[in-house]
Amino acid sequence: MSEPHDPSQDQEPSGTASRRTFLARTGAAAGGLLLAGAGPAAAAAPAVHTGPRKKTLEEVIHEGAAQQQYPPVVRSDVTTYTQSSVRLNLLKQGVAAMRLRPAVDRRSWDYQAKIHDIWCDNPPQPDKYVHYSWRFLVWHRAYLYFNEQILQQAAGSTGFAIPYWNWTDNLKLPAQYYGTSNPLNDPTRVMGPNDSLDPRQTAISGLLALTDFPPFGGTVGAAGGVETGPHNYVHRSVGGDMGDFATAGLDPIFWAHHCNVDRVWWLWLNQGGGRSNPVDPAWLTQSYPFIDTQGNQFTIPFSVAAGLPVSYNPPPRVVAISSTPGTLSGPKTVRAMIDPLVSQSVASRMASATPPPVLHVSGVTVPPQPVTVNVFADQPEAGAGTSTAERGFVGSFTLIPSGHQHDVDLRVPLHQHVPDLLQAMAAPSAREGVSFTLVPVGATGVTYQGLELEI
């Protein structure tokens, strides 16, 4: 299933083809494929897993119930993909590896983008056109999901997912997607790193307030508000490859953008209140072909695509603690400066059962001996002998050596003595900083690249 990552692929330049070049390069490769279930041409499509007989609704629903065969994916806000984080590097490695594959390879970057061109710009049948209809959200969910599987395979790790660009709160295109030697860059973009979107056109509160699917997600013949609202607006604003459905998939930001579109759908549905997806058999049974990690083509109906196990971590409020590398040769105290607004937010939610704060430790080098690192808040005098029963003890992590020496990103929930920790962060003095002391027990020499606090 997985293939080893070749570090030399990191050197792949991030250049993208013009639309004309792209179409010429991939047209012959993909033009005759991906037509399963789409009419007579389907007969010529290789590796189609489904037969020609149209499934009954009962069979389709049964397939939906069997969705557990698909591994769950939890996606996070791109702002948590810090520049030094391992998962950002894995994302880059995966994209770079896919870019190196020849266009005829169904798992190549070009071929995957061509899939979008086929179904979103030049469908073999008009009624298979994905956009401007109720097909939009569900088709893209499956397209994203199976592309993500290929991306993970290309990176040789399932330790990351495609991040989402929460353009409602972050109006600038994420910095992680710029840089001349960055495989996530696309030089055709019109939107520069300092340009901002119009917040009124990326607002989702009105969309989430809708209770019926049609104005939200579309009908058989009309687009919903998600699609022609923020979705299309962001496409057009980014411009370049993103400004045209034929080439949009070439720009790596396309995937982060669509993860957020999918997240909006996920948020909408999870509100309850009678919100539901279409139950019309015409929607449930419509099927499209996708590509698996082996490069095989298979077909699934919307009933299965809609139920693919994707979920989303909430956008974090991340407080940078230290962006400089450090070494735990003994207890080390750092300070997190808590913005007053964040303090107020913490204070307002102290009575509710909210998730505990999380300490992100990025780029951690696993030492040759096992080590546990205890974390204390507002207890700078803590040392190796300090009991974890102390109220200042908020969490810990343990590193166990393995045969492979590699850096890891750690996400450490600070779930001990949470009320005390929240109290410290909600206090007016928090703007002067809340101290966190990391105490290694058992070994020393743990190094890290950066520390962040997620609230």
């Binding site: 710009d121 008009p126 056109y129 956009h131 401007y132 019109v190 939107m191 340009d195 119009d198 009124r200 056109q201 009105g206 969309l207 307030a209 809708l210 209770t211 019926d212 049609p214 104005p215 939200f216 579309g218 009908t219 013949g221 009309a222 687009a223 919903g224 508000g225 022609t228 609202g229 299309n232 607006y233 496409h235 057009r236 604003s237 411009g239 400004g243 045209d244 459905f245 034929a246």
Partner: protein, 192 residues
């Protein structure tokens, strides 16, 4: 085509405009104030139809939207329809359905309810801003259909007299006025 002067937005301006447009409503229904030749429409619900549909432009002539804003209306809702909109719990209780939209170069269109003076300079923070729709370049030649939910803005507009206008403003991604060469076959208000 140069349309008649547009009245500035706001409730007081609306009073003047309503008096002037009553005859227009009888003769030509909901008329386009700028852009293409004014098509006629009944601006009344289709008998027996659910959802209630108010057509603000007739299918006999496509509307075009250029650099100048396009205002449709005023359109008067029935008393029942006004009560329905006022009681709406969801923005989706009133949906604008724009049919047969074609914008070969791509377009972003801001939709304002009862703000006939709206332009590219009108901030999207304006309470009359109901939403926007964007089309990318290319797309199906026959045009596409888009929806904009606008119950809150419509409720505010029809509260007093049951009348409202719709104003479409084409902007580029930076919010500046532009001529997208956009056309649309029909504009329909659906009340659910």
């Amino acid at each position: 085509m140069q349309g008649p002067p547009r009245a500035p937005g706001g409730r007081s301006a609306k009073r003047t405009r309503t008096a002037l447009s009553a005859a227009l409503l009888l003769l030509a229904g909901c008329a386009a104030r700028a852009g293409a030749a004014a098509p006629s429409s009944s601006c009344t619900p289709q008998p027996g139809a659910m959802p209630q549909r108010y057509t603000l432009s007739a299918p006999v002539a496509a509307l075009t939207l250029g650099a100048a804003p396009l205002t449709l209306g005023p359109c008067r809702l029935s008393a029942d329809a006004v009560r329905s909109v006022m009681a709406a719990a969801s923005p989706g209780a009133a949906v604008l359905l724009v049919e047969g939209v074609r914008a070969p170069r791509g377009a972003t269109v801001l939709v304002f309810v009862d703000r006939p003076g709206a332009s590219a300079a009108t901030p999207t923070a304006d309470a009359a801003f109901a939403g926007s729709f964007t089309l990318l370049r290319g797309g199906p030649g026959g045009g596409v259909n888009v929806q904009v939910a606008l119950a809150p803005q419509l409720a505010a507009a029809v509260r007093d007299d049951g009348e409202f206008t719709l104003t479409f403003v084409a902007v580029d991604p930076r919010g500046r006025a532009e001529d997208p060469g956009l056309s649309m076959d029909r504009v329909v208000l659906e009340l659910h």
